[in-house]
Amino acid sequence: MTQQTENKLASLVVDGQDESYHSDSLLKLTMRRILRQRSAVIGGSILLFLILVAIFAPAIAPFDPNFVLIGHEDIKRRSDPCIHLLGCDETQPQHILGTDGNVRDVFSRVVFGTRVSLMVGFTTVGFAIVIGTLLGALGGFLGGWVDNAIMRVMDVLLAFPSLLLAIAIVAVLGHGLQNALLAIAIVSIPIYARVVRASVLSVKEQEYVAASLALGGTKMHILFRRILPNAVPPLIVQGTLGIATAILDAAALSFLGLGAQPPTAEWGTMLGTERNQIFTAPHLVFFPGLAIMITVLAFNLLGDGLRDAIDPRLKN
């Protein structure tokens, strides 16, 4: 070691001021990488906005989503959007997205619909991740016939077009939001099982796992504390993208009348019940669809950004 290097090291030990020698926590580093992804920032911001809308829905919406305005205001069914600031006649009651076929305020229904859609996304994917992780981890960790059996069942589930299988499951279970959620969760399990299994297989033979075993770690301890944490990053990425699909599929089921039932303020249901009015009252179709698109887009952008930041290998 040269004198110069020794001096530099010594000075670092003394004052520790040199920025380049600072080590950030893993979380901080990851956050910085995520913030560098434009799509993650845009998607995350939209999502944050949507979450706030969902939380403060009663404060934002001027009416209860199921409140029928007949007798309270002089307004007709399916009236066009009226915004006073944009020149709508002041004598008319203001409904910025108009009213629907049951004379309810569409804006309030769209705002409250955020709650349903976010709930749908998080619960279905949450359920699918828990079951998928359990199955994938067991398969990957135990191997042999258990793995074979689990993965073949997953292959069969993946052999169906997902929305179609969800439709068939709802046909059996009966219509309704709860059954639709269950159906969508079931069809999304295989993706998570595969992701977790792949992670488990890739780290199972690592030396630190062997070390943990040598130290007397139980199988469960090794699986949950040493192996599974490796599956978390790809699960987060897949889960975010999965929420987008889940919201889209749930809205499609509701649109067909198989998911959420009226009068629930759900975007797919709103679109479905008024779809025949597309030529006479297009706003009733346009705005709920736009809301679905923005929400799905937010999760897709966030998922893409997270993937690029956390695990670029997943790109293909």
Partner: protein, 359 residues
């Protein structure tokens, strides 16, 4: 090569078996007894007893599964409750519409997606790239049925009385009829024969039929009706194909052999189209195969909106009417079709990728 093909075909067998098992389990999970589920309101105690005996529902579950498999392999999916007609017949009548719609949508998706992806990759980070990627991200996030309705509003109402007007529903205008090609050519086909079923199947694809019969007026009308649903249906596959082509091209363009090709002094266009694209196409083709599933599921929504009498709309109507034999039969055929298409895609690698041929 043969070994690869055989292995791939053998691998599909348990999957198809699994599909049949899943649909069997679903059929048996319908609340209430299978007789009421299958026969609907017609089911009285006597009829049910006879039905259960005939269909083997009084036998152990394993035997029932055997009977079910036997029926399906002989092409018998039971009878529709609502129409009192064999499901297979209804399916054969409805499939051509969906296949035609799906193929046109897939054609549009490939035609738009691959060039968009290539341009995006070649002009990486340019305004075009950003634009294509924004469009692709929006495309995958759009509800198909919403886009369909908005398109119908724009092209059928806003553009009314312009040359861009397009019909919002149906497959063909009232008063126009697509005369089957076998009638035009005066071929003698006896109704009910296999030959008739096959001819009818192809004649039901109006675009194909009017090309064969050279009836350009009908072709024009049919295509006009097909544009909106096909565009709506193609959006998600188009966006996915564009994204996949882009990322696959970017991967390939980094390779040494591309640099070598450029160093040899080849034209850039030649390098892109011949050296890069051929290598980048493999994952794109896999994705195209997977889109068939999206198309079938999308057909349920698109056909419902645009009043197309295809498999998708029939499936939707059957679910609403709790016509379970149709739901079951259609689900099996679509799922098996999906597996078959993906099998074909995998087998096509042999022709596209010489490395697999040499394996």
């Amino acid at each position: 090569m043969t070994q690869y093909a055989i292995r791939r075909i053998l691998y599909s067998i348990p999957v198809i078996f699994g599909i049949l098992l899943v649909t069997f389990i679903m059929a048996r999970s319908i609340p209430g007894d299978p007789c009421t589920a299958m026969l609907g309101e017609k089911a009285t105690v006597e009829i049910c007893e006879r039905f259960n005996r005939e269909q083997g529902f009084d036998k152990p579950i394993a035997v029932q599964f055997g009977i079910y498999m036997e029926q399906i392999f002989s092409g018998d999916f039971g009878s529709s409750i609502r129409y009192s007609r064999p499901v297979t017949k209804i399916l054969l009548e409805r499939l051509p519409t969906t296949i035609e719609l799906g193929l046109v949508a897939l054609f549009l998706a490939v035609l738009g997606g691959i060039p968009a992806g290539i341009i995006s990759a070649v002009r990486r980070n340019s305004a075009i790239d950003v634009g294509v990627m924004i469009a692709a991200n929006t495309g995958v996030s759009m509800p198909v049925y919403w886009l369909g309705l908005v398109l119908a509003y724009v092209f059928a109402l806003l553009l009314k009385d312009t040359p861009f007007w397009l019909p919002p529903s149906g497959r063909i205008s009232a008063g126009v009829s697509a005369i089957p090609f076998y009638e035009v050519f005066q071929w003698e086909v006896i109704e009910g024969t296999t030959k008739y079923v096959i001819m009818e199947f192809f004649a039901n694809m109006y675009v194909l039929n009017s090309i064969i019969t050279r009836d350009w007026e009908v072709l024009n009308d049919v295509i006009k009706h097909l544009i909106l649903p096909a565009v709506a249906l193609s959006t998600i596959p188009l966006a996915i194909i564009a994204r996949m082509t882009r990322s696959s091209m970017l991967e390939v363009l980094r390779q040494d052999y591309i640099r070598t090709a450029r160093a040899k002094g080849l034209f850039e266009r030649f390098v892109i189209m011949k050296h890069a694209l051929r290598n980048a196409l493999l994952p794109v083709i896999t994705i195209i195969g997977l889109q068939v599933g999206t198309l079938f599921a999308g057909a349920v929504l698109t056909e419902t909106i645009f009043g197309f009498a295809g498999v998708g709309r029939m499936l939707f109507e059957a679910i609403t009417a709790r016509d379970f034999p149709i739901v079951q039969g259609f689900t099996i055929v679509i799922a098996v079709g999906y597996v078959a298409v993906n099998l074909l895609v995998d087998l096509s690698y042999v022709f596209i990728d010489p490395r697999i041929r040499l394996e």
